[in-house]
Amino acid sequence: MAEELLKATGLYHVFESQAEEGNVVALRGLSVALRDGEAVAVVGPSGAGKSTLLKALGGLLKPSAGVVQLAGEDITRMAPEQLVQHRRATVSFIFQEGNLLPHLSARDNVLQPLRHAGVPHREAAARVAEMLDYLGISERAHALPEQLSGGEAQRTAIARALITRPRLILADEPTGSVDPVTARSIMELFTRLHKEQEVAFLVVTHSEMVADFADRSLELQDGRFIAQHGEDVELEDLALTRELLLDAGGNLTLTPDLLEELGGPGRYEVRDLRRHRLTLSRVMDERSNVCEACNTPFDGDETQCGNCGALRG
């Protein structure tokens, strides 16, 4: 087994808001790990926190609590400039919309990461030409983003992500806004990269086809993983499975119905621990008095943090 490329433990994220609904807790104590060269899909309903997770894993967003280790280094505690350096060497992002720079041609868009990385222009230009060729968009190299079709734009975005030769690609619904044919060719491209160059993938998707490409899928709901599926798992069956994920960080995530059956959130003590088997029982007194996510003291018997909405541990 290859070493761990990405390892996140206890991720909480709270979006503060002044709207009536109050704060939004997008991530609730998530943990996830990814090995080098592994392809993982993240699935889940809209608003589950997939994009937030992706941003937190890639260092675009600092989670409210928790640790993200990328290539062995904790990126939640890095200075901005250092973080940029580290990210540059390891990850690239692909979004649903190309997110191309509107004033630059396709070629200049692809060239831009190398410019930021300080790669000499001549070498960078050669690499870009090669990359555009590889993705089959050489003829459109001088077009501006607004002149590109959806598929071309997305391929340009992919080229831009690949040009830095990352070890990990974080993709947020990469095929979400292209037609099925283009989507298929993009996925073929991903597969090729995955197989030939051993690039690791974490892909957020709604698409079965994309999930198929992954070695395993993680299902996210309400800011928590509710299930993990192997390659043989059918997407339709997800809701029926009662498999729980005990992740590498040691976190166990329960679906809400299971939680309810257990008697709601609270403190549990280990009653029986053997290999492959764990029995928990509820501790009825003394509960944690401060919120894990935002350090606000709990008020009385609340089960949810009044400040950030996180569940009481």
């Binding site: 002044q18 967003l61 409210s64």
Partner: protein
């Protein structure tokens, strides 16, 4: 380093490319920096140009730049009486690179001390003309005395001075300077020719008194000089004031008048009397030697005046001092010790004080426009950076570090701002000469002054730092914000927009309103429309009053704009409430409810208010200033011309004299009209002891005299009608005795019988062309009353010395000056004042400062451009931001026209309301500023020596303001149509998808 150089072409290409492709958002920044640079540079350059003009103006009146005199007093060391040696010194001075010409000269004795009103200042006397005798014309009554001799400068005995000029004054630079002042004849071509011709050059006043022309001969001319009396006086001993002089006289014979020069140009006080010029070599050698011994001789030196630095008096003075030091260090043959004196040194210190006041005033006047351009700059930056937010986020995702991104944004901003600065700077350099040549608000007479004002390196850098620096500083803090926000997007911290400090806006506005009320009440009280108790306004403490007078207008302006901008931004809502019931606007109301563009549009309202209030203020003050200048000119000249004759003349004789002077102009004798203001003495029937000076306003005076509203405080035509119908008006000093009398029965004083009854038509302030102080103590009556008193015959044959002339339709500036010049040669005329020349004079010294109208024109133009340009730029930015919103409206079924109408309604109501409010605010600040303008006007008038203070009654140019308002509206419409069309036509799906 090397790597950076290698990457340079690619990076530059990229920066230029994205600057170009992102030009619409760059436009706002460009416009802001451009305006700021234009305005700030103009104000600075204007100061330097003004100094240059003053300097050149006064320099022009001087023939020489330096004079060299003996260092010691008569009888001291280091002197010589050797004529040949003295004449040889010029060669040594001309060897200095700075000196362009040098000539031996003799005239007023050199002073060997410093300071005014010391012996060294009071004792020196000129060469005095004692007698002359004509050959071709009669010179017997051409006086050698100057009556105005003691008016300016150190006292003299009152004889007309004489100046002897060495041969090199007849060639080179000195000859050019003399030749430029000639009215008739030629300056002799070289020293030899001057001696051979026995040339004499006369002041025009002398020539006109003698009725002499070029080529006429003087049989003899006698002058005296003061000489060294240490070994006994050879001539006549003269005591004058507390000094004694030994005067020797010289008589020259058979002189020929070679030229006549313009003696109306006022020189510096030291040399204010106009001399007669005669070649030095015509004087016998032994006299020349005595003239040298008597301290009359000096060396007249010229330098290249265009090489003098003129950006400040200090630098000019430094340069002059340097030249003076190098002159003083020249070692002369025979160990003679000469001192250089700079001729206009006294002038310089005077100029410095005057310029100081002018600059302060101009800086104050330009503050609003500077504030305006800076705020355009800041808002432009704000909007344009806002549009980069997403782009910066993308860059961060693909590996751009915060520092690199900051550099990138600032690099682009820097290039853009630099170009804008350069454009503004260059335009300012081009515009300033034009501004300095402004003769009125929006009126120019180019070419009158040839100045090439420039800015020193330091000042140039200052404009660069202030404009580009400001843009970069602001851009940096904004970009930093974006960068920080992006990394911690949404985490823990929600950016709460601080509430604007409305209480502060209201406070500023309130204080400004108090100042306005104070200044308005003061002006009402001064006009007599309010009781005198109100003369000090609401604030009577003088210090507080001064602070309010200067700060008030600005507080009113800024506070008013901030407060009223909210009102402007609320306009769509209010309009909708007003018009919402109508069918056409019902769906608009629905659309508006959802529109969330209030912030951007609120800023548009603010900018509109700021600009239009300045436009209004500049136009009002500009036209008012022009009216004040014209009023001042009318006060001095009365009509097109004011001709004062030596003796009283009747209408026919005066007309005949003036008609002769029309020769060579386009004015026909039949076009001109003349009128005098007969002055008689009258007393009330039965009270012979209270005599009133009475001026008769003849019927012709209506057309000839340039009447003004201020003369009677109201429509002058009406008052003139009532005077003609048997009325009288009284001067200010008679208010007590006559103010309440409805009727007066008047008798002629001094012999002749005659009685008339006149009715009171009110007070008069002044009569154009007459001395205000004197008319304030008398009364005016009409022609009919006059005829009743003295009879038709006497009226028609009435003689007066002063006649006002109207030159008719052809009487433009050129004709006026030609006629003035011709009349000046007429021996029966003692003085001619032309309205046009008076007007020019006033523009320079009077009313307000020289070129202030030009500055106001600039302010007006810049504010107008800013109003038009910012409405365009801001609208297109605001609408680009609203693209999505408009697309949604379209997506849910609104037609293009409906969307267009919605936007049109919203923006137009804001613009129109803001413009109206802005104009209103402008009216307010015009009043508020008026106090300050009249204060400074007074200061400058006292510098210029004008005595009568002229009212600054505001003039309201509504027509111009309307045109500008319409122009702004038209541009707003255009911008709207353009941007809305762009927004509605672009791919809906793409817009909705994006961001």
């Amino acid at each position: 380093m090397q790597a950076a150089a290698r990457e340079f072409p690619d990076r530059t290409r990229l920066a230029l490319l994205s600057a170009w492709r992102g030009r619409s958002r760059g436009l706002a920044v460009f416009a802001g920096v451009f305006l700021a640079s234009l305005v700030i540079t103009t104000v600075l350059v204007y100061g330097s140009g003004l100094m240059q003009i003053f300097f050149l103006n006064y320099l022009d009146d001087e023939y020489y730049d330096f004079r060299m005199d003996f260092h010691t007093d008569i009888g001291g060391k280091g002197r010589t009486v050797d004529v040949a040696l003295w004449e040889s010194y010029c060669a040594e001075y001309e060897a200095l690179p700075e000196i362009t010409d040098c000539a031996v000269a003799a005239g007023r004795q050199g002073g060997h001390g410093a300071g005014w009103f010391t012996e060294a200042y009071l004792k020196p006397q000129p060469l005095e003309l004692q007698a002359w005798e004509g050959r071709d014309s009669d010179w017997s009554n051409v006086s050698v005395f100057l009556f105005e001799g003691n008016e300016e400068g150190p006292p003299t005995r009152g004889y007309r001075p004489l100046r002897l000029l060495g041969p090199s004054a007849y060639d080179g630079e000195l000859a050019e300077r003399h030749a430029s002042r000639l009215l008739r004849g030629e300056w002799p071509d070289g020293g030899a020719a001057a001696v051979e011709q026995r040339s004499v050059s006369l002041p025009s006043q002398v020539a006109s008194m003698a009725d002499a022309t070029v080529g006429d001969q003087l049989a003899s001319l006698t002058f005296t000089y003061d000489t060294d009396a240490s070994k006994g006086c050879q001539g006549e001993e003269v005591f004058w004031q507390q000094f004694s002089y030994c005067r020797v006289s010289v008589t020259l014979e058979n002189l020929t008048i070679s030229s006549i020069f313009d003696d109306t140009i006022v020189t510096s006080p030291i040399t204010s009397q106009q001399p007669v010029f005669i070649p030095w070599e015509l004087v016998p050698v032994e006299n020349r030697s005595a003239i040298i011994a008597g301290d009359h001789a000096y060396l007249a030196l010229t330098i290249d005046r265009t090489a003098l630095p003129t950006e400040s008096t200090d630098s000019a003075e430094k340069e002059l001092d340097r030249i003076q030091r190098s002159l003083d260090s020249v070692a002369l043959e025979g160990e003679t010790d000469l001192d250089g004196t700079h001729v206009i040194k006294d002038l310089l210190s005077w100029l410095r004080i005057q310029n100081y006041f002018i600059q302060i005033f101009n800086y104050i006047v330009m503050i609003p426009i500077i504030v305006l351009s800076v705020s355009v700059l800041l808002y432009g930056l704000l909007l344009s950076l806002e549009q980069r937010r997403r782009e910066i986020a993308i860059h961060r995702v693909i590996g751009g570090g915060p520092d690199a991104l900051l550099r990138m944004v600032l690099g682009e901003l820097g290039v853009l701002a630099f170009c804008a600065w350069l454009a503004g700077y260059l335009l300012a350099l081009l515009a300033v000469p034009l501004i300095l040549n402004a003769v009125g608000f929006m009126q120019f007479r180019p070419g009158e002054y040839d100045v090439s004002p420039s800015l020193g390196l330091l000042a140039t850098l200052a404009t660069l730092v202030v404009t580009v620096g400001l843009a970069l500083l602001f851009g940096r803090s904004r970009t930093r914000d974006f960068l920080e926000q992006e990394i911690s997007e949404g985490v823990q911290r929600v950016v709460v927009k601080p509430q604007p400090r409305y209480w502060l806006h209201w406070l500023l506005f309130g204080v400004g309103l108090i100042a306005l009320a104070d200044s308005y009440i003061e002006s009402l009280a001064n006009d007599g429309r309010l009781a005198d108790d109100w003369e000090k306004g609401i604030i009577s403490n003088p210090v507080l009053n001064g602070i309010f007078a200067v700060l008030g207008p600005f507080l009113l302006w800024i506070g008013g704009a901030l407060v009223l901008a909210r009102l402007g931004a609320m306009a769509p809502g209010m309009m909708q409430r007003l018009l919402g019931r109508t069918a056409a606007l019902r769906d608009i109301g629905r659309g508006l409810r959802g529109s969330g563009s209030a912030e951007g549009v609120g800023k548009l309202a603010l900018i509109m208010l700021l600009t239009l209030s300045i436009v209004t203020m500049a136009a009002v003050q500009g036209y008012t200033g022009m009216a004040v200048d014209e009023r001042t000119a009318s006060l001095a000249a009365g009509g097109d011309l004011k001709v004062e004759f030596q003796q009283p003349l009747d209408h026919a004789a005066a007309l005949a004299t003036v008609s002769v002077a029309l020769e060579g102009t386009d004015v026909a004798a039949s076009d001109i009209r003349l009128v005098s203001v007969p002055l008689i003495a009258m007393h009330p029937a039965g009270d012979e002891y209270s005599v009133y000076q009475t001026w008769v306003l003849l019927d012709g005076s209506r057309e000839v005299v340039r009447w003004d509203r201020q003369a009677f405080g109201g429509d002058p035509g009406k008052t003139l009608d009532r005077l003609a119908a048997g009325g009288f008006s009284y001067g200010e000093q008679l208010e007590f005795s006559l103010g309440e009398q409805p009727q007066l029965m008047l008798n002629l004083t001094g012999g002749a019988p005659g009685q008339v009854t006149v009715s009171n038509v009110g007070e008069h302030t002044w009569h154009p062309g007459l001395d205000t102080d004197i008319t304030a103590g008398g009364i005016f009556i009409g022609e009919a009353s006059f005829r009743t008193l003295v009879g038709d015959g006497a009226v028609d044959a009435w003689r007066e010395t002063t006649w006002f002339v109207e030159l008719g339709p052809q009487g433009d500036a050129e004709a006026q000056s030609a006629v003035t010049r011709a009349l000046a040669f007429d021996s029966s005329v003692s003085k001619v004042t032309s309205w046009d020349e008076e007007h020019r004079e006033v523009e320079r010294n009077g009313g307000l400062v020289f070129g202030t109208l030009g500055l106001l024109t600039l302010q007006f133009a810049v504010a107008t451009i800013a109003a038009v340009a910012s409405s365009f730029v801001f609208l297109s930015l605001v609408l680009t931001q609203r693209k999505r919103e408009l697309a949604i409206l379209q997506a849910i079924g609104a037609s293009e026209w409906q969307v267009g109408r919605l936007v049109l309604f919203e923006i137009m109501s804001i613009t129109v309301v803001s413009m109206l409010l802005g104009t209103l605010l402008g009216v307010g600040i015009s009043y508020a500023f008026n106090g300050m303008f009249s204060l400074f006007g007074l200061i400058f008038q006292s510098f210029g020596g004008a005595s009568t203070s002229v009212d600054r009654t505001l003039v309201w140019p509504w027509g111009e303001l309307l045109v500008i308002g319409l122009a702004v509206l038209a541009v707003v419409m255009l911008a709207l149509v353009w941007t809305t069309a762009r927004a509605t036509r672009s791919d809906l799906a793409r817009i909705l998808k994006g961001e």
